[in-house]
Symmetry: C2
Subunit: 229 residues, 2 copies
Amino acid sequence: MPFTYAHARPALSTDCVVFGLDAEDLKILLIKRALEPFKGRWGLPGGLARVGESLEDTARRELAEETGLRQVFLEQLYTFSSPDRNPQEHVITAAYYALVNLSEHPVRASTDARGVAWFGLTEVPRLAFDHAKILELACERLRGKIRYQPIGFELLPRKFPVRELQRLYEKILGRALDKRNFRKKILNMGILQELAQTETDVAHRAARLYRFSKEKYDRMKKQGFNFEV
Amino acid sequence: MPFTYAHARPALSTDCVVFGLDAEDLKILLIKRALEPFKGRWGLPGGLARVGESLEDTARRELAEETGLRQVFLEQLYTFSSPDRNPQEHVITAAYYALVNLSEHPVRASTDARGVAWFGLTEVPRLAFDHAKILELACERLRGKIRYQPIGFELLPRKFPVRELQRLYEKILGRALDKRNFRKKILNMGILQELAQTETDVAHRAARLYRFSKEKYDRMKKQGFNFEV
DNA sequence: ACAAAAGTGTTTGTTGTACACCCATGC
DNA sequence: GCATGGGTGTACAACAAACACTTTTGT
């Protein structure tokens, strides 16, 4: 069923950089391309935009289809439009980035014919298209944004010890943080809810668990508070 | 000359929020629409993307065609893709924002049949499409970005007195700044080059002129300096 | 009892903020 | 000589950074 227009139109797609934090490292999710161009190479999950669908919906649909991930934090990154970014034709792509916590969002088994796998940021293979550039920008954006917006919590389970939050910031910012100063700062913000629970199944003293409280955060923000790490 | 594709494609356009600073206020540039939809209403300059052209090039081309502006600071803002943002069909638009200094970039006379005019941010008329939303986001972005990136200089002539820079920040941030603290901070950064010249044609004591030095800024940045106002 | 991580305060330096007067110039 | 804006320094408060030991708990 062909579609005809008065003027030539570039194709439009979405691509998504999915960040996840596991016990070792900050990772990203890649899929092995089943089709040309770049067949067999790893790349970002994504696909063609449809008429009548917002780009965010496209990104979510493709993410669900290709990786099984649903209901994740998703934000627009940048739209890449260089005419030669795709060797076959001019494809413009709206790039998004997603933050997921691996414990609550299991990804479709990587034994899938397509191939889906997590890669540490230092172990990323050669990527298809300009996906390396997209990834680069996503990392930059994450580094920048995590410091003044409370989005880091999206990478953690709902209940977490302060240590895990600190580890997250250290991984993303790429440097060690002082434990006492970090605790002082983050706990004094008044955006974490202290829970009665503590960690379980841990060898040695269990840490208290906290929950990010969006309600508290919204209330503080209304009073002129600015999140900053 | 019609173009046919296997799958339906949304149309793709660019729109541009052009900021300029004049003696009174921070203003934006609008054009009066000559065609349906929203014929006769004011809107952002922009137009359809072409195959083989990057979106930034599209934005620049349309800006030159519609307003006469060339070689301005231009940066991508966000891509708006809601299916109902255009009543005729699904048109996705990559929004950009531009910063120009009015003294060095005269705009095509507003007597042009099309109508091109500057509006203070409090005097913006009802806009076509979702352009009010785009404008809103552009203002937010500008407010945020101007504080940690040296882009404000784009709104000033190459040579300017410190007072003008301060006025710019006050207009954009929407609050008064302390003169002594502002001077201290901005001059101590070491990114402004002090010129031998002073203002001319000014009633009363002439202020010293400065120039933003990208070279100095780049050098400082390499040494870990972070611009912040 | 030992290993491992949790939890906790103080000191010091740096940075932001508030604030008022004299000076140079054009009219 | 007066009106207008240019240019300057200091004191105080708030925040960031550095730093080490005791407590709890599981093995």
